[in-house]
């Protein structure tokens, strides 16, 4: 059932709610091309415009400016019911007065599919989602995870060109959420349906997506693969939003070349990878992820700071260290319990320059998590 079409293109999309003094720009000049079969996640904090963008794709909102096309066809004048898209809602939005079977059959009935065809296709998709035994149940007799699967089945059965997900996992508990992530990804890949997924959960975005679009305050901060977003963030905001971060003040930029810079931090000079704008920015900062930092007890007067708190998780230990750079977080996996530096003691830490990434500073360092 591989789907070759499904090329979704958003060009210069702007959405303004209200007018006059109450005007709110929800989405500002948004551009995105999604390739057939690609899984793209819109990620960002509440109110960043990600849901509005999704709802414009579905047709529930009309862009104030800009165009949305699917396989080259303009969607502007199509109401939601005329767009070949399936949507999975945050609240699932199952029809409470219909059985699971009827819920899934609804879209096919709208298309006037034959009775025979409806039976076959609904049975097929219920089988795929391991829901066959629940076909005659009412939605309120299902668990959250089952409702979620029905919602997905209902959206898939009409074979849409695009699947839209509006934070569909946010009402599930952590374990079920992880399980559904895997399931959604598996099904999406087997069907090859273009998918747009909205979430504020970075783990979801990282584990599901071919590409992540990070949004903030109505604009796109960065668009890239999970790897790029995590290791080569565009800004302090993205670095801070995805995963956990330490930002070190850079004493001075000693030299720069394409993609690299020689900087001195804490009196040590090192060669690191750098954002194109970083070296020329007035106060660049060095991003180092907590798991890249190794902590050792302070020896003979050489100390970078004092351990203020440790949290022992079993498979890893997390240090908070008070330093002249502010609080530094370090994560050591598979720790040897006896060698953990206890709170109140001095510590040194180090990281390999290849794990660091030089960023332009936007003025202030965003809060540490």
């Amino acid at each position: 059932m591989s789907n070759q079409s499904g090329n979704l293109k958003l060009t210069n999309i702007t959405k303004i709610f209200g007018n006059g003094a109450d005007k709110v720009t929800a989405v500002d000049n948004f551009n995105l091309t999604i390739n057939p079969g690609e899984f793209v996640t819109l990620l960002g904090p509440s109110g960043c415009g990600k849901t509005t963008t999704l709802r414009m794709i579905a047709g529930f909102e009309t862009p104030t400016e800009g165009d949305i096309t699917l396989d080259g066809k303009d969607l502007k004048n199509l109401t939601p019911d005329k767009r070949p898209m399936g949507m999975v809602f945050q609240s699932y939005a199952l029809f409470p007065h219909m059985s699971v079977f009827e819920n899934v059959a609804y879209g096919l009935r709208v298309q006037h599919a034959s009775k025979q065809e409806i039976e076959t296709r609904v049975a097929e998709v219920l089988e795929k989602m391991s829901l066959s035994h629940l076909a005659q149940r009412a939605p309120n007799q299902l668990s959250g995870g089952q409702q979620q699967r029905v919602a997905l089945a209902r959206a898939m059965v009409v074979q849409p060109k695009v699947l839209l997900f509006d934070e569909p996992l946010s009402n599930l508990d952590a374990k079920l959420r992880a399980q559904m992530r895997v399931e959604i990804r598996k099904i999406q890949q087997s069907l090859g349906i273009t998918s747009v997924f909205v979430t504020h959960d970075q783990d979801e975005a990282m584990s599901l997506s071919d590409r992540i679009v990070v949004m903030r305050n109505a604009v796109v901060e960065q668009s890239g693969t999970p790897d790029e977003i995590y290791r080569r963030p565009n800004s302090v905001f993205v670095a801070d939003f995805i995963g956990r971060s330490n930002f070190f003040k850079v004493d001075k930029v000693e030299s720069k070349s394409k993609g690299n810079a020689k900087v001195s931090v804490n009196g040590e000079s090192m060669e690191v990878s750098a954002h194109p704008n970083a070296a020329s920015s007035p106060n660049p900062v060095l991003l180092v992820r907590p798991e890249s930092i190794a902590v050792k007890p302070a020896k003979s007067g050489k100390s970078h700071g004092t351990v203020t708190n440790i949290v022992f998780y079993g498979n890893h230990v997390e240090y908070s260290i008070s330093t002249s750079h502010g609080e530094v977080t370090a994560i050591e996996s598979d720790p040897i319990y006896d060698e953990i530096v206890q709170p109140g003691n001095g510590a040194t830490f180090e990281f390999h320059p290849s794990r660091a990434w030089l960023l332009p500073n936007e003025g202030k360092i965003v809060h540490e998590e």
């Binding site: 709610f17 929800a26 509440s46 109110g47 849901t51 509005t52 709802r55 579905a58 047709g59 529930f60 909102e61 009309t62 109401t79 939601p80 019911d81 005329k82 767009r83 898209m85 399936g86 949507m87 809602f89 945050q90 609240s91 699932y92 939005a93 199952l94 029809f95 409470p96 007065h97 219909m98 059985s99 609804y106 879209g107 709208v110 298309q111 009412a138 309120n140 919602a151 209902r154 959206a155 009409v158 839209l164 509006d166 934070e167 009402n171």
Partner: protein, 567 residues
């Protein structure tokens, strides 16, 4: 997510629906009321308006009306609250029975109560004279408050019952765990949360009371109010502009209260939406509190039963107060004359109006809640006017507007719909009144129900390819079936028992039961009045049962509509 506005693009179905709804509302409300206003500023009407300031007698009528509304609002709300509170917070045997008795007055023509109260407590009344041997105190203000509060408290009861049930018990539990006594919780938590609901109920009853026409005519005595004064001006003094002017004055407090009431109920929405109730309601167990509450509640129920029994038994007594042998003479009489036609005509017109009103109200609710961003409030206001406007105003307005054909540039747009010589003997205008009087009930319950249903459900239907019309039929309507049914039953009961607007447009060709009852009661032929009332109550109850059955049968899918939460 925070942003949850309705569909940006309206489909054709919705656009046409909105246009038709606004058009219907304009014809049924705006034009008639505009006509009343216009007429009241003509000679004869102007004088009345001036008299409100200059003439003590006219001013007294206005003050009487407002004082009556205030009293009925206060007493009715108190009674409704007591019954609702007992229902939710006290456990006792016979709860269902008390609930039914608390709703019973809804299905009676209001002046059945007035008539029964007169026979019981009036001049040489069964109880006032027979038991206490006293002069009657029942005519005038006191009797009116008693009768009106008894007739309308179920409105407050339903309102407050819903509110009390939706209060989150966890709030009480929180107060309890902070050390508050039960009485302190009642005073500092429950009551403040209910204030918007109490206010809204008071105002609803206020409007009902000042608009009531039948009771002041039957039991008002010398206590003249605007509604009855307007009726006398038109049907007794043939001063049409004068009658219009009294109605216009009545319109002012009615509309003011309606607007305040809307404000209150919007606040009430904010306060009472608590999501899923958690925990258990703490029942009242202190014997003193429990039994005093129960005694009060059952006393009220007993009074309702007493009055009801009087109506029904009165229909079978030979001659009230003289000969209590049972007879069917009263029924023989009412079926021998015009009564026969009236039963058929009233039932038929109400049956025609009921589905129209129910569908119209639901349609309005759906468009208001789901389809339009701005203007929803205005459309809601517009639709609810049908209930908020005093019946007298509507009736006079209909008489003015539809007693002659409506022409624009010499072309007849609407033929004569009301009065003698109108098409179908004026039945069309009566159906129109029934529809506009009863559709607000459907509209209100439809809105309340739709607001509880996640808008994503409509969107899910649209994203699966369903048009606006299909979504309304297959998704929204089935989900608000309960509300639809309630709306239908209320519409029918309301139509069968309405009098004040009808009295101005009924014709010899369209005899209406309520106006016949008034005529009998007015001429002190109580036996016949009771027989009519009994018949009317019977028809209403039977038809409500049938509607219930039909709607359940035809729409039954096996899945009961459930409250849908987003969590």
């Amino acid at each position: 997510m925070a942003i949850r506005s309705q569909s940006a693009k309206l489909d054709v179905f919705t656009k046409i629906a909105i246009f038709v709804l606004v058009l219907i509302l304009s014809v049924l409300i705006l034009i008639p009321v505009g006509n009343v206003l216009y007429k009241s500023f003509q000679p004869g009407g102007i004088d009345v308006l001036r008299d409100v300031v200059e003439n003590d007698y006219t001013r007294q009528i206005v003050l009487n009306t407002i004082w009556l509304g205030t009293s009925v609002g206060a007493v009715g709300t108190l009674v409704g609250f007591l019954l609702a509170y007992v229902q939710v917070r006290v456990s006792f045997r016979g709860k269902k029975l008390l609930h039914v008795l608390s709703l019973l007055p809804l299905v009676s023509p209001p002046f059945a109560f007035a008539t029964a109260v007169i026979v019981l407590f009036g001049r040489s009344g069964i109880i006032s004279n027979g038991v206490f041997n006293k002069e009657p105190m029942i005519y005038g203000y006191k009797g009116l408050v008693l009768v009106l509060a008894t007739s309308y408290f179920p409105v407050a009861y339903m309102n407050l019952l819903g509110m009390l049930r939706s209060l989150d018990p966890a709030v009480d539990e929180a107060a309890r765990s902070l050390g508050a006594s039960k009485f302190k919780i009642f005073r500092t938590v429950t009551l403040p949360l209910l204030i918007p609901g109490l206010g809204a109920s008071f105002l609803l009853l206020f409007v009902e009371a000042i608009a009531d026409l039948a009771n002041p005519l039957v039991i008002g005595g010398d206590y003249t109010v605007l509604a009855s004064r307007a009726y006398v001006a038109i049907s007794g003094e043939y001063n049409v502009p004068g009658g219009a002017a009294y109605s216009t004055i009545l319109l002012v407090p009615a509309l003011m209260v309606f607007i305040i009431q809307r404000y209150w109920s919007q606040r009430a929405d904010v306060v009472t939406v608590t999501g899923k109730p958690s925990g258990q309601v703490d029942m009242i167990k202190t014997p003193l509190a429990k039994y005093s509450l129960l005694t009060l509640a059952w006393s009220i129920a007993a009074f309702v039963v007493l009055v009801y029994s009087m109506v029904i038994l009165g229909a079978f007594f030979k001659v009230l107060k003289v000969d209590y042998s049972l007879t069917l003479d009263n029924f023989r009489y009412i079926f021998s004359g015009v009564g026969n036609d009236a039963v058929l005509m009233t039932t038929m017109l109400a049956l025609i109006a009921t589905p129209i009103a129910g569908f119209f109200g639901m349609m309005l609710a759906w468009v208001i809640v789901r389809k339009i961003k701005r203007g929803g409030q205005a459309l809601d206001f517009f639709g609810m006017l049908g209930l908020a406007l005093p019946g007298t105003v509507l009736g006079i307005g209909y008489a003015f507007t539809f007693n002659s054909p409506i022409q624009v540039f010499g072309i007849t747009i609407l033929p004569q719909l009301a009065g003698g010589g109108a098409i179908l003997g004026g039945a069309v205008a009566i159906v129109m009144v029934y529809v506009i009087r009863s559709s607000p009930a459907g509209q209100r319950s439809g809105i309340a129900n739709l607001q509880q249903i996640d808008p994503a459900i409509d969107e899910a239907s649209a994203s699966l390819g369903a048009s606006g019309g299909r979504t309304f039929r297959k998704i929204s309507l089935p989900l608000i079936r309960g509300a639809f049914l309630t709306g239908l039953m209320f519409a029918f009961a309301r139509s069968m028992t309405t009098l004040s607007p009808i009295i101005f447009i009924t014709t010899p060709d369209t005899p209406i039961l309520t106006s016949l009852i008034l005529a009998e009661a007015d001429t002190v032929r109580y036996g016949y009045a009771f027989a009519f009332c009994t018949l009317l109550i019977g028809i209403v109850l039977i038809t409500m049962g049938l509607i219930n059955l039909i709607v359940r049968k035809t729409q039954g899918t096996g899945y009961r509509p459930i409250t849908v939460s987003a969590g």
